[in-house]
Symmetry: D2
Subunit: 268 residues, 4 copies
């Protein structure tokens, strides 16, 4: 081990040595990095949130390893910037020379909040959504960007309503929409989420007064939807959003009458 200790001044750079296995690696990097993120709002104000980050690059067959610390350096570099999808794409693009790579992916998953107004009382409260941004930069290609959002809603079962004298089972459901966006990536997230919510038996709020609770109860009963209806109606909405080039819609109903979920997915 002496030779190692002698080399303290000029430490060996194992990662940079030549690899003989002739096997390129599609993606290598860091995962599970919890780091703050500033998300630019439609009003031009930045919303602070906490994201779970993954940053990876493609590694050619002849390189033994990537340089892991540079991914975290890239995160630190962008920490105080107000993030738009465009800047997020730029962050993936500037990662390429930094890591000496030809392709790179960045994913950030974070809670996102919208100030909602209760339907009858008009009281305000925040509603939280899980959002994910994903960018892939390739040399000499336009950067690819995908938005994913989990929208929690109420679903009320049409079968239960039709066959029962009174009542109908309902439950919280998660509608997850992934949309690949064309350049320029200019989707308005609150509007996009509102269009999704509008397809559910009823949308959710953080704070409801009794007059609101009457409203949401009756609205859900008036709009029964199977998990199949949910994915179809949301898919038909998402398809018509300008700038969406492809999409995937999932719905999971956490059934109130079972200990498992009803689930459906449509891709287009």
């Amino acid at each position: 081990m002496n030779s190692v200790s002698d080399s303290a001044v000029a430490m060996p750079d194992v990662q940079s040595s030549f690899d003989t296995r002739r096997l390129p690696i599609q993606r290598v990097g860091v995962r599970g990095v919890r780091h703050p993120m500033l998300v630019m709002g439609a009003d031009g104000e930045a919303m602070p949130t906490i994201a779970d980050w993954e940053l990876t690059v493609a590694l050619p067959a002849e390189e033994k390893g990537t340089h892991m610390s540079r991914f975290v350096a890239q995160l630190e570099h962008y920490r105080r910037r107000s993030m738009t999808p465009a800047l997020f794409c730029e962050m993936a693009e500037t990662m390429l020379p930094l890591l000496n790579a030809q392709q790179g992916d960045i994913t950030a998953a974070f809670p996102y909040f919208i100030d909602k107004v209760a339907p009858v009382s008009g009281v305000s409260s925040l509603m939280d959504y899980q959002v994910q941004w994903k960018a892939r930069a390739c040399e000499n290609e336009e950067t690819w960007f995908e938005l994913t959002v989990v929208v929690p809603v109420t679903s009320l079962c049409p079968c239960s309503k039709a066959i029962s004298e009174y009542g109908a089972h309902n439950q919280r459901s998660h509608v997850t929409v992934s949309a690949v966006l064309q350049q320029p990536v200019s989707i308005d997230l609150p509007t996009f989420i509102a269009r999704i919510e509008n397809q559910a038996s009823c949308e959710l709020w953080g704070l409801l007064k009794r007059s609101d609770e009457k409203y949401v109860t009756e609205r859900a009963y008036d709009n029964p939807k199977f998990v199949e209806d949910l994915v179809r109606d949301v898919a038909m909405t998402v398809k018509n959003v300008e700038g969406v080039s492809s999409f995937r819609v999932e719905a999971e109903n956490f059934e109130s009458i079972h200990n498992h979920s009803a689930y459906a997915v449509v891709e287009g």
Copy 2:
């Protein structure tokens, strides 16, 4: 490998050295061990399941470390036994001499299945419950045993029903009951769970035909319960179960109209 095993004779036993910090450790051992478990049923047949185990002992101030491998050896030793609460307590008791300890705890958390019959159609299906057993053995004391079970049910909101023209929001809820049992620990788990389920707006089944779905929808509507009603009614039931010396009842409603839970706890 011979030379290695030979050198084992003279290997230092760091764990057994004397500790000078004068600080006893309440519990030390292994956690997150996933291991099979056989749970003896009321019918005398063993139900195979997979448990998440934690085994710990108290460590006196003068000992530097415990012997971690012996916990896993204890698990292996009991692997093929059909477990009753009594045998589980014995497992905690025999751990004491093995680890040279005066107090020891074992916790096993596992899925438990009950074959249920749908209320109208009579079709059979399994329903899964999360169960936990916890035993504490102390020298010269009777071993303490606690049963915890998470019972998923339907809750239907009395306020929503009262104020709405039609319908009522309902959702899946988790009722978690922890009960310290007196010796002899002889509680019948399916009966215990059935008594808890009976206090909900409605119980759950794995498989429901349309005639059953009509039944559960109407039954829930006929039995509206707040989260407060749930914990109170379950607490009054558990209090009267023979052999229960103390208990804790929690209920969490995964509200279908909000993105958060309503929660209540009663201890007695």
Copy 3:
């Protein structure tokens, strides 16, 4: 609501009504069903485990809904069968007429145990692995089957070893291998896992005596591997397993010197 109550004898079948949205659904069914599973071992003995199941079918554009209860009935039907990949594929195939579908997927994710012998002391203990089976049946096509297994191992950092006077950081890593298998699906799981473990800095055991601990410590130090080395070496091994038609190898190192993971993926 009277018309509904009158129809109690002949309940409306809402799911079977005609759908006008002209949107087929790729997959619809149940998810998060926790149900027992018997996995046939190489020795012809069935290992009981608990699986998390998802069963879905494709729904044509003109059908409003699928029949959710039939998925659970299918699960009940196969509950006491010893499962092989072949029988699992059959289970997906017999789901098609049951659900009146042209395509169907079944996924089961479950803990799987192997009795391992410690490298020096020779003591026995169980080691747990997370396994997933996935089958897709299509009318007039051979059923597709994919095996996924998460193999926890030790990884020891070559860079840390090379630059340090003594020691080297190491940690638990998850190597996740997904392999699409050709017919007949005849892979031996314990052998497959052993081949993967053999590529790590060191494999793991449930129970290690001190002589074993010396062995695994030195073996890991003698076999330093980056996350890049792990995926490459495992990929080269998996590629050569008979019957594997395509694969994906991921490795995640839960770094002992950071609060995040190093991660790599190779597909072939």
Copy 4:
């Protein structure tokens, strides 16, 4: 919507009705509310984070239900305030008249970031910690406050080092410290965390250059600690922190040579 809001005048208030079961509820409220939080830093600047909130009150035997929407209103009311433990206690105290209760608990669990400087290279990066604040307000009593922090560190096994020719297994560990703080609650969190980290084999950083990696590898090798050493050394440190009236120290080592954890807990 006028008619709806008008009918609110005469809506039944089910929660406020009299309860005859004679069973007080220790705690009832909301749980799993994801909401932004501003945490006041030592430098007087507020750090934005996202907390998982639970707000509950005690409910007397004669009251049927609490008023769930008021908990969320309380959250909204404090949303833009820079939170100190003192203000957090005030938030629990002002919840009592709002809910007409004699006792109330608030818990907030959130990621917390510290800008750390790498030990040799001096580069800066954020390190994340999971923190929880818990306050209990009672009429006519001083409000009780508990701080919990999960500090991820490196642990290196003394036994593995002592018995092996070279190397030593090490891994990420979680040290979880809960401390009940006396009034005035004035603990400095970064200093408190640094004192805990100082007891580990080595602390963690987000970004390490090679010179740093050499340092942390050797430092861990020079400071081997069992899980028992970790809890004892951290307990002796926490005991001496001014203002701590009681504490609990847990350590969990995610063993690199096993698929389970070593675990210990000391209370004082």
